[in-house]
Symmetry: C2
Subunit: 141 residues, 2 copies
DNA sequence: ACAACCATTGAGAATGAGTCTCAATGTCAG
DNA sequence: CTGACATTGAGACTCATTCTCAATGGTTGT
């Protein structure tokens, strides 16, 4: 099942309408760089002569996050950054404060930490955010 | 060396002036709840008849973060939250999305993760952010 | 102690990301 | 096809944070 199909199913299941704006946003999102902000997405839409309002773009991104096709991040003091999510795609981010490079990494021990937290405090974890900031190998020293 | 002394040293070292506004903000910050936002801090200042402008409060918080007396967080979609930092005070946060409760926890394995990242990619970590969102034991189920 | 220099402050304007409004438009079940 | 109602778009709005700049105040050297 591809992204569009998943999105359509999601829309149907929630009694939301299958509009061209929504599908167009999804298409363009999938063609963006891995990490992008809404501003770039809107620029891209404009440059492709797709006239979709800022409000609709924001509204649609929310849906895409909600149906699990996209994840939303906050890196440092900047606004939101989105990232299309692929199956079993579980990673955290390192951001170089000098050049802006983003390194994605996965360390299974993060799950150990979460597991121990749940056991210790009896909480249920729904979501998390884990970012590292520093200098990449080219910028350090 | 107490907080005020550290702050004064910091100011001197950076050729910044030792103003009553700056010291007042520090005093009131130390008397705040563990996690607070700028709005509450400004309210507190007002209620104590200390007239310090919004701009100065923001500017001073930046200094306090820079000199390591306070840490700055972003929890979810909300604005900044500050937290006075004590010696060897290394912890992450769990936030209950239902009741707002904050649990602080420390799991040494977070450092293992960071260590492995440094070795693997040759990066230097300067800072990080790690928050968990979910339901606390009273709100889950 | 004093003057002079320059950092700091405050009030309010400006910014900017994100949200809201509501009339016009589009979707879709029946 | 049509009615019911969800969605869209343009721009107003919000709200946290930053900026501006004239007035104020610390600090240093004498």
């Amino acid at each position: 099942m591809n992204y569009s199909q998943i999105f359509c199913e999601y829309l149907k299941k929630h009694d939301l309408k299958n509009t061209t704006e929504r599908l167009t946003v999804l298409q363009v999102v999938l063609a963006m760089d891995k990490h992008f902000d809404v501003e770039s997405l809107i620029d891209r839409l404009k440059s492709q002569q797709k006239k979709i309002s800022r409000a609709t773009v924001y509204r649609t991104m929310e849906l895409l996050v909600d149906c699990g096709l996209v994840t939303k991040h906050r890196f440092g003091e900047n606004g939101r950054v989105y990232e299309p999510k692929s199956e079993r795609d579980n990673h955290d981010h390192f951001l170089c404060v000098s050049c802006g490079k983003i390194i994605e990494f996965y360390d299974p021990e993060i799950e150990g930490i979460h597991q121990r937290l749940c056991e210790r405090f009896g909480v249920e974890i729904l979501d998390y955010s884990h970012q590292l900031y520093g200098k990449c190998n080219k910028c350090s020293g």
